[in-house]
C-alpha cells in the first residue's frame, strides 16, 4: 500500500482537539505522524492540502442504501460512491430494506456488498422488531454479534410503548442505541406536509408538529425509566429540541440528530408542489428551523445526518400526495453545512465537523471520527471556498430526488481516504 503524505492542510479534528496547519503521514493505511514539515520522499503519494481542510472521514449515521430490495433506487455500490463524493467514509444504513435487516443473513449480505464495492464503510442498523412490524422484538443479540451498531424501525415508528420499553431494556446489555423515528401514526395518518398556514392555504392534509413531539416525549420518558439509550432521528420541531435539551439536563441517555434540510428549508416552499420537498418528517416552520439551529449550537442536537432517501424519477414525478417521502443528501450535506451554518456564523467549523465525525462515532461506538496515531486512516479533505451549483445529473447516487437543484453551494470534497486508500481524488471517484 502506497504511503500517503498530506501536506500543509488545516487539520481540524475535534476528537483530538486539533485545529492547526499540519502534515499527516499515512503508512500501510495507518496514521503514522501528524506534525509540521514532514519531509516528502519520492515514493510517497503527496497531496497538496494548502488552503484545504483535513478532517476525519465524515460519518453519516442515517442513510438508506435500499439494497436489498430497491436496487432501482440505490445500491450499496452507488450509495457508498455517493457517500465518498460527499466526504463520508462511513455510512450507517437503516434497516428498512426489503427484506429488512432483522436477520443476520441480511447483515452479512450488506457487509459483503460493501466490501466488494470498496468505497465507504457500511455499518448496518438492525430492526427493532421482526419485519419492522412493531409487534415482537427482532433477534437483536444475534444481529449485534453479526455487526449491527444500533437498532431502529426507521420509517415505521414503534407505536407500541411496551415494545419500545423492552427494546430500550434489551439493547442495554449491548450498549447500543435505539434510533427512534418519532411519529404518532394516528396524528399524521393522511398528512403529506407540515400542518400550518401553508397546508391550510394549499388544502393539503397536515402533519402536526405534535405528532413528532408526543413520541419524542414518550421515548425520553421510557429511556429515563429503563436507563436505555435512545437516539432521536431527524429532529424537525422546536418542541422536540426543548424536550431533548431538558432530558439531557436530567442526564437521560438521549442523543439526537437532524438533517440538513431541516436547518435549510421550510414548509412554505411546498406551494410549488415539488414532490422532492415531500419528506418525513415534513419540512416545518421558520420557528422550528430556528430552534433546530439553536439546538445544533448549544449541543442539544449532537449529530447532522443526511437521512439520504433515494427514490426514482418515476416514483417522484406524480401528484404531491402520491409521491413517496424522502430526499437524497449524501452529496450536498457538506455544501449545506457550509452555506447554512458556517457562513451564517451559527457554528464554528470544528463544532460542525464534530457533528459528522466524533459525535456519531461516539454514539455508535464505531471506529473513525478521529485522526489518531496508529489507527486506520479515514480522512476527508475539502476546499471550503470552492463554489459550485447543484446539478443532480452529476451525482454518483442512482437517484436524483433533491429540491436543491440549481442551488449555489460552497465546499468541494477533494480527497477521501478510506482505510488508507484514496477513493476520491480531485473531487472524482477513483474506479
Amino acid at each position: 500500500m502506497k504511503t500517503i503524505l498530506i501536506k500543509n492542510g488545516r487539520v481540524i479534528d475535534p476528537g483530538s482537539n486539533l485545529d492547526r496547519i499540519a502534515d499527516i503521514l499515512i503508512v500501510d493505511g495507518v496514521v503514522k505522524e501528524i506534525k509540521k514539515n514532514i519531509v516528502k520522499k519520492p515514493s510517497y503519494e503527496a497531496i497538496d492540502a494548502r488552503k484545504k481542510i483535513v478532517t476525519p472521514g465524515f460519518i453519516d449515521m442515517h442513510t438508506h442504501l435500499r439494497e436489498p430490495g430497491r436496487e432501482d433506487e440505490e445500491t450499496i455500490l452507488t450509495g457508498t460512491k455517493a457517500a465518498c463524493k460527499g466526504g463520508f467514509t462511513s455510512v450507517v444504513c437503516m434497516a428498512n430494506t426489503d427484506p429488512p435487516i432483522d436477520d443476520v443473513g441480511i447483515v452479512r449480505l450488506i457487509f459483503r456488498c460493501a466490501e466488494e464495492a470498496g468505497f465507504a464503510k457500511v455499518y448496518p442498523v438492525g430492526a427493532v422488531s421482526k419485519g419492522l412490524k412493531g409487534e415482537e422484538l427482532a433477534e437483536i443479540g444475534d444481529l449485534y454479534r453479526a455487526g449491527i451498531v444500533a437498532v431502529s424501525d426507521d420509517g415505521m415508528p414503534v407505536t407500541n410503548s411496551e415494545i419500545m420499553r423492552r427494546a430500550l431494556e434489551y439493547t442495554n446489555m449491548f450498549d447500543i442505541p435505539v434510533i427512534s423515528h418519532c411519529e404518532d401514526r394516528f396524528l399524521c395518518e393522511r398528512g403529506v406536509m407540515n400542518e400550518g398556514y401553508t397546508s391550510t392555504r394549499l388544502g393539503l392534509e397536515g402533519i402536526p408538529s405534535v405528532s413528532e413531539v408526543i413520541m419524542v416525549a414518550r421515548n425520553i420518558i421510557l429511556a429515563e425509566y429503563t436507563k436505555g439509550r435512545v437516539h432521536i432521528a431527524h429532529v424537525s420541531t422546536a418542541e422536540s429540541v426543548n424536550l431533548i435539551r431538558d432530558a439531557k439536563k436530567r442526564k437521560v441517555k438521549v442523543t439526537a440528530e437532524t438533517a440538513p434540510h431541516y436547518f435549510t428549508l421550510t414548509d412554505e416552499l411546498v406551494e410549488s408542489f415539488d414532490t422532492n420537498l415531500r419528506v418525513n418528517p415534513p419540512l416545518r416552520s421558520k420557528e422550528d428551523l430556528s430552534a433546530i439551529v439553536e439546538g445544533l449550537k448549544d449541543g442539544t442536537i449532537d449529530v447532522i445526518a443526511t437521512d439520504h432517501a433515494p427514490h426514482t424519477k418515476a416514483e417522484k414525478e406524480v401528484e404531491f400526495d402520491a409521491a413517496p417521502t424522502g430526499m437524497i443528501g449524501l452529496e450536498i450535506a457538506l455544501g449545506l453545512i457550509l452555506t447554512q451554518l458556517i457562513e451564517k456564523s451559527h457554528l464554528t467549523l470544528p463544532k460542525a465537523i464534530s457533528k459528522i465525525t466524533l459525535n456519531p462515532s461516539s454514539i455508535l461506538k464505531i471506529k473513525g471520527g478521529i485522526i489518531k496515531l496508529g489507527e486506520m486512516a479515514d480522512i476527508t479533505i475539502f476546499d471550503p471556498e470552492f463554489e459550485w451549483e447543484c446539478n443532480p445529473n452529476e451525482f454518483e447516487s442512482k437517484s436524483k430526488n433533491t429540491p436543491f437543484k440549481g442551488w449555489k453551494m460552497k465546499g468541494r470534497v477533494e480527497y477521501v481516504i478510506v482505510s488508507g486508500r484514496i477513493v476520491l481524488k480531485d473531487g472524482k471517484i477513483i474506479v
Partner: protein, 308 residues
Amino acid sequence: MRKKLHRKDLLGLEDISAEEIELILNTAVSLKEISERPIKKVPTLRGKTIVNLFLEPSTRTSSSFDLAAKRLSADTVTVSSSSSSILKGETLLDTARNLEAMRIDAAVVRHSSAGAAHFLAQRLKASVINAGDGSHEHPTQGLLDMLTIREKLKRLENINVLIVGDIAHSRVARSNIFGLKKMGANVSICAPPTFIPYYIERLGVKIFYNLNEALPHADVINVLRIQLERQGKELFPSIREYKELYRITKDRLQLAKSDVLIMHPGPINRGVELDPDVADGISSVILEQVTNGLAIRMAILYLLITHK
C-alpha cells in the same frame, strides 16, 4: 379596464388579481346572453380543441365546461376516470404528454390531489384550467359565486359572506375566500372546530362555531356540501348531530336578514346541510349559480384560448 388575461392557465384565485377577476366577471356578463338565444352558439373558438380531464366524479362542473366550450364552437373530448387509461395504471404525466401530442388548446382538469392542475400546467404548452384539485382550489366555482352575488347585490365590496361547512376539506371554500377577500368582501366561516384548519384567520376570515350567532350578519350564506363519508370518523360524531347544529332550516333563517341569499355549490344533501324548503325557497339562488357557472366557464375559455 384591461381586456386580456396575461396568463396561460387558471389554477386558482389565490394568485390572480382583483383586476383579472373583474375582467372575467365582466366577460361572463357579456357572454351570458348567448345562452338565451334560440341558436346558442358563436364561432369564437371554432377549430380549437379542449379536453375535459375529469379524474374524479363530477356531473355539473364537467357538463358545464363541456357546454361552455360547445357554445363557443370548440371541439371537446371528455375523459373520465372510469374510462381513462389511469385505470390501467397510466400516470398523470403520461396522460398529459399524450394529450399534448394531440395538439390540444386547453385542458380542463378535475383531480383528487391538490396541485394536480399545477403539475399539468408546468408540463403542458396548452392552457390548464383547474376544475377542482383535491381540497385546494376550484376557481371557476369561486368566480361563479362572485358573479351571482354581484348580479343580485350589485357589488362585492363590503358584502358579508358566511360559509358554512367543512372548510378544511373544501376547495370551494378556499377559492371563495381568496376571491372574495380580493374583491373587498367580508368573509366569515361557521363550522365545528374540527372542520376549521389552523391559521385560516390569516386569510382574513372571521370564525364562528355557533350558527345562530353567525347568521344575523350575513348578506350571503354559502352552504357547503357535507361529505357523508367523513361522519363517525374523527371530525364529527354523526350526521344527526351535524344536522342539529349546522343545518340551514327555515326556522334558523328567521335569524338572518330577510333578503339574505342562499348559495350551495351542489350536489345538495337535501335535509342534511340544507332543508329542501330553503334550497327551493325564495332566498335560494342555487340555480342562478349553475347558469352563471356556464357563463364563467365560457369567459375563462374565451380569455385563455383567444388571447394566447
